[in-house]
């Protein structure tokens, strides 16, 4: 295991830090929100990120990627979390890029991975059908009809779904809702007839969509991986996303901690800086401990991915549960310690709180992952 960064990794982290501070500071998210930007992220800056190699970080050099691996991606995401950077990293790189890498045939890989690495294609995974993450609860059906499939169903919380150039849709080719077997992944053009996309404006000002499929026809070549065997791919992809979002949340909690600590050293009440009050000091010390543990967990999860360890599912659930819980705790404490000013939109802490909750709900919250962890461990 490597819980310490190599020099190369430290360099990447420094690049990412600088990039997000300069090119995607929190002001960027505010601007997108306040101008009601139709895309919801800055495509030009996404191109810059791709040029820096961030989009192709998990993609092999053969397809124009930088192949820096999961630890590298984690470092980038952590820095993105510090500035609440809106980008298609989760939708396109973590979810869809990984799915194609794992399950795509040669043609699909060539086509899609090189487009992702170049920053030319935005992709979205249409998976969820209810308000809570549940990768096997799929009612959307894909009926075989000759050489094609016809997809019908409703998806929700599709990240970047309203601007995706291409969708991956999880649909049922056999079995019934909640069965593990019978799920198939399809590549779907969002402009196909019968696809209806509604952007949903989330509290974190990021992008998601409800998408309905009404008898949408796709050719057999649109199948990604094997028919009925989608769950195995999905689970690997989801673990990558869970770990990636945990890395983002690590940046988020660290930033809120740092900002709150600075505020405590500056803000005066009753003639003293409030950071001199012992009750607040102890709460900050406890938060410090929680975050140090979070950092170890995220680093280990990224290493597990990189080394393809067989405990990836376990450590992914550990990371997602712990970071979700700590992000809730840290943003609540951070806001409270900022007092009334923290309640204003002018301060950033509220934005971090909003992002923390959406990140928590993405791909399983603490309840989901603690239950999964216990199942994986057999109790």
């Amino acid at each position: 295991m490597a819980l310490v960064l190599t020099e190369e990794q430290q360099l990447l982290r420094d690049t990412a830090t600088q990039f997000f501070q300069e090119r995607l500071p929190i002001a960027n998210l505010r601007k997108l929100r306040d101008t009601k930007d139709a895309t919801g992220f800055d495509r030009a800056i996404w191109k810059e990120m791709s040029d820096l190699g961030f989009a192709g970080i998990m993609i092999s050099e053969k397809y124009g990627g930088t192949d820096f691996g999961p630890v590298g991606l984690g470092l980038v995401l952590e820095q993105a979390g510090r500035t609440l950077a809106a980008s298609p990293l989760v939708s396109t790189v973590l979810l869809c890029g990984s799915a194609v890498q794992l399950a795509g045939n040669a043609t699909q890989r060539q086509d899609i991975l090189s487009a992702i690495a170049a920053g030319d294609r935005i992709m979205a995974l249409a998976l969820e059908e209810g308000p809570h993450h549940n990768p096997t609860r799929i009612a959307t059906r894909a009926e075989a009809s000759g050489q094609a499939f016809r997809i019908s169903g409703k998806k929700t919380f599709v990240l970047d779904g309203h601007v995706a150039d291409q969708l991956i849709v999880a649909a049922r080719t056999s079995g019934k809702e909640n069965d593990r077997a019978g799920i198939t992944l399809f590549l779907v053009d969002p402009k196909s007839e019968g696809v209806k996309i509604t952007r949903t404006l989330m509290v974190d000002s990021r992008n998601a969509a409800d998408i309905s499929f009404d008898n949408v026809s796709v050719p057999a070549t649109a199948v990604l991986g094997s028919v009925d065997g989608g769950i195995d791919v999905l689970e690997q992809v989801l673990d990558i996303a869970r770990i990636g979002i945990s890395a983002e949340m690590l940046g988020l909690v660290q930033e809120v901690f740092d900002t709150t600590l600075a505020y405590l050293k500056e803000r005066k009440q009753f003639g003293k800086v409030i950071g001199s009050f012992q009750a607040l000091q102890h709460r900050m010390a406890v938060l410090f401990a929680e975050i140090e543990l979070c950092r170890s967990v995220v680093l280990d999860a990224l290493s597990a991915l990189e080394a393809r360890r067989n405990d990836v599912p376990l450590i992914a659930s550990l990371a997602k549960a712990r970071l979700s819980d700590t992000a809730t705790l840290m943003t609540n404490e951070g806001l409270q310690m900022h007092g009334g000013m923290g309640m204003t939109d002018q301060f950033d802490v509220g934005l971090f709180m909003k992002r923390a909750r959406v990140a928590t709900a993405s791909f399983g919250d603490g309840n989901f992952h603690r239950d999964r962890y216990a199942s994986l461990e057999g109790y």
Partner: protein, 398 residues
Amino acid sequence: MEALEKFRQETRAWLEENCPPSMRTPMTSEDETVWGGRNAKYPNPEAKLWLDRMAERGWTAPTWPRAYGGGGLSKEENQVLQQELRRIKARPALSSFGIWMLGPALLEFANEEQKKEHLPKIVRGEIRWCQGYSEPGAGSDLAGLQTKCEDKGDHYLVNGQKIWTSYADKADWIFCLVRTDPTKKHDGISFLLFDMATPGVEARPITMISGASPFCETFFTDVKVPKGNLVGELNKGWTIAKRLLQHEREMISGMGLGGAGSGAGLGGLEQAAKDYYGEQNGRVASPSLRDHITRQKMDGKAFALTMQRSAEEAKAGQGPGAASSIFKYYGTELNKRRFELLLEIMGTKGLGWEGEGFTGDEITVTRSWLRSKGNSIEGGTSEVQLNVVSKRVLGLPD
């Protein structure tokens, strides 16, 4: 007792005749609240009629003396009135900081002229008031306020800045704490009234994390205030302020018990959990979530019982009791927890901001969740409350 029964009959008859039909329907949004004032807005003409009829009897401020336009009712009569209003589900004729906050203070601390001048207009909803207490630099240390008020012989000159002045952009007058002696802390504060139309007053609404808000930042630049607008003695304003704060705190602590925006539209925590999480053998599908719901419900019930016990103790003449010292702290923390739990229950449906994909109830929960974070800050932070309990109730030393 007989007189009271007679009063009830009369009141019931009067309300039957005078409360317009549309004023007996539930409000569909906060926008329908009647606040009165120079630029008063009414959801419909009946709302104005209802206000005027109630104001004429002084029943917008039922217990205030008739001499100042109030209803002159006894405590018992007022209870009857409120019961009868609830019986027909009547909307409040008037919502007013003048009635809730300022009026009682004026009745206790103002001179005769001030009472005659301001109270009747409050009763009739002619003047809408806001309160200028908090300042950006002060926060929990309310008495650390800096807004300067200088005696310029024939008038006072006010310079400074307030924050969290609810509806300052819509109010006609402000009651305000100002610093009249910079060399003292609590004993250098005075209680001043002035017209928001005075030159040099500017109110800017604050956008909150939950969206638009009634709160404003309010700036005073060389605002001239007549000397007759000082309430009580110079430098003794803190006494009035404390009385008003006590009142505010009590209003906020009721929160743990739920009410508006508490997810009531979703049928309570357990129904919401069944709807958003699903059922298994008739029970909430996630056992750990079920456990969290039970903890919340148990704490809510225990808190409600404690407020009830405190009320009974007070009624039994044992005073409000030590338990009341925890209400603000516990009630607001409980309310915050309730909203966190609702979000946990609702998943991505509890995380919408606006627009399509979410019901109105869902968006209300999300906004209320964000708004709830302020409960443990406004009206004395939880930290200040715990300080108060540990020092005044438990007697722990500095």
